[in-house]
Amino acid sequence: MRLGLLLVAGVGYLLPAALSSYQTFEFTQVFIYAVALLGLNILIGYNGQFSLGHGAFYAIGAYTTAIMTTRWDIPYGWAIIAAGALSLVVGFLFGLPALRFEGLYLALATFALALATPQVLKYFDTWTGGSQGIVLDKPSVPLGLPISADQYLYYLSLTVLVILLLLAHNLLRGRAGRAITAIRDNPIAAEAMGVNAALYKSLTFGVSAMYTGIAGALGALAVAFVAPDTFSAFLSINFLVGSVVGGVASISGAIFGGAFIEFVPTYAQEISRAAPWAIFGLTLIIFMYVMPTGVAGLIRRVAAALARSMASEQPAPDSQTAAAEAAEGNRGSARAVLGKPD
């Protein structure tokens, strides 16, 4: 993981030199989506709670930033932090009653949230500017750095992504992360071990919403514009597809998923206007059936196979690696996580 993180950061920080300004913007979006998907992966992949409504938290982050920077002249850095904090609180509060819902019902409750978002944004038009939306100023490049505003946003998003990747990694590998995963695997046993499942699930919902809210804040700055129809239910579905394609129960999967939702619709659009949704739908079905651990799971498996073939001169693989390999399908599988009979 450390190595992967260094790789992402290293390549990421060097990349803009080779990119056109439009490509720079595209990669900025990839990082932003990756942050959003990281939140979704923590919730769905690790905690086993479902959300079809994370677009709402993305919207909260985006509008918090838009309102704070344009109406109140608050520096965007504080606005990003406030967006994360507000999403955390709203996510936590949404998570509390959501404890009553399991599986399908939670999916429906969150989907209702996604459906309501554009309407709510239009309704409170004195704050949100109604359907006209709000135009933001792009953050200016600090310290007289010799880069463009788009490149600055690129570096800003990448830095936020790297920090949030590291925090997620730390969270998930320690005491709290084990408890989060234990709730997914066996809630009754988790409680018997002393895990306050209700609190942990709400907190996880909050943290998940915070990630997606921060992504929304960066998204608003990158596009320099927010409007209600950008935050339709399709955004939430996009996130879900990206999450499954990248690999729900993985941290690195968020980056692959981010790349998928940024690039695939653009290239599919060249085939036909209706193509992106057809391709999204097909991909979702194919991944659920054929590659439930997503791109991240595929890479893990290929790496394990390579490691084994390189060690093949040595004694036959012990039962441990064989079993680890067998368990790979179980660990982090979208089907295991999403298809759990409730």
């Binding site: 320690g174 234990a182 695997d185 018997a192 071990m193 441990q320």
Partner: protein, 256 residues
């Protein structure tokens, strides 16, 4: 503690499930430092009693007192920190995790650090993490599972999974250990090992054990006292040799 050395006092517990009475006024005590066997034919209410002690079920009547405090109405997650850890009749492991990670969860109730200090890897989070690791490894080596520590829990033999559950429960440093049919599915040799293990848990770890088991031989060998349930009622109680000769117990077992 009312002047007696009972660690657990179960008083007049009644549990009903739509129509059937699973526990019908059960009363007994578990003394500290003993192994108490809880036996009875299938459906007698043994697991239901465990589930009351775990606060999974709430009895409609009666009282449960542990170390002088009432357990009724406590949230489930508080039970482990009070000092009661358990295993499950039908296994309840965390199937995507390694053996070590499973047992590390046993230490959850004895540790504190939360989301923020974990995410930031603050010094107390690191300290606790190594404490958790040490405690889990101790429980793992007590059960002689060291060679499997990094192994995924899923896919191991049934008898091994039963041992992992015991290790996980012991990692919680309980005062009272509830074992629900630990010998279920074990072969003859494994049952013999279990006898030694149970005695070590009582004598070396000083943990009190409430043992639900069908394997009569095992129960009679290790128990200091035996409580017999049938159709949700206590029909006998006493030293193993005495219970074995009890006419009502023999009828309950032979009558089906």
């Amino acid at each position: 503690m009312a002047g007696n050395d009972a660690l657990l006092v179960v008083q007049d517990i009644v549990v009903r499930f739509s129509g059937i009475v699973a526990l019908d006024g059960v009363t007994f005590e578990v003394e500290a430092g003993k192994i108490v066997g809880l036996i009875g034919p299938n459906g007698a209410g043994k697991t239901t009693l465990f589930n009351c002690l775990s606060c999974l079920y709430r009895p409609v009547n009666g009282a449960i007192t542990f170390a002088g405090r009432s357990l009724l109405g406590l949230p489930r997650y508080r039970i482990a920190e009070m000092g009661i850890c358990r295993t499950f009749q039908n296994l309840a492991l965390f199937s995507t995790m390694s053996v070590l990670e499973n047992v590390m969860l046993g230490v959850h109730s004895r540790t504190r650090t939360g989301f923020l200090s974990q995410a930031l890897r603050l010094p107390q989070a690191r300290r606790e993490e190594s404490f958790i690791h040490d405690q889990a490894m101790q429980a793992i080596s007590f059960l002689s599972l060291e060679h499997l520590a990094g192994h995924p829990a899923a896919g191991l033999p049934y008898g091994t999974l039963k041992r992992i559950e015991i290790a996980r429960a012991l990692a919680g440093a309980p005062k009272l250990l509830l074992l629900d049919e630990p010998a279920g599915g074990l072969n003859h040799e494994e049952v013999t090992e279990l006898v030694g293990l149970l005695r070590e848990i009582r004598d070396r770890l000083k943990v009190t054990v409430l043992l639900v088991e069908h394997h009569m031989n095992l129960v009679m060998q290790v128990s200091d006292r035996v409580v017999v349930l049938d159709f949700g009622r206590k029909i006998a109680e006493g030293p193993p040799a005495q219970v074995q000769r009890n006419a009502e117990v023999i009828r309950a077992y032979l009558g089906r």
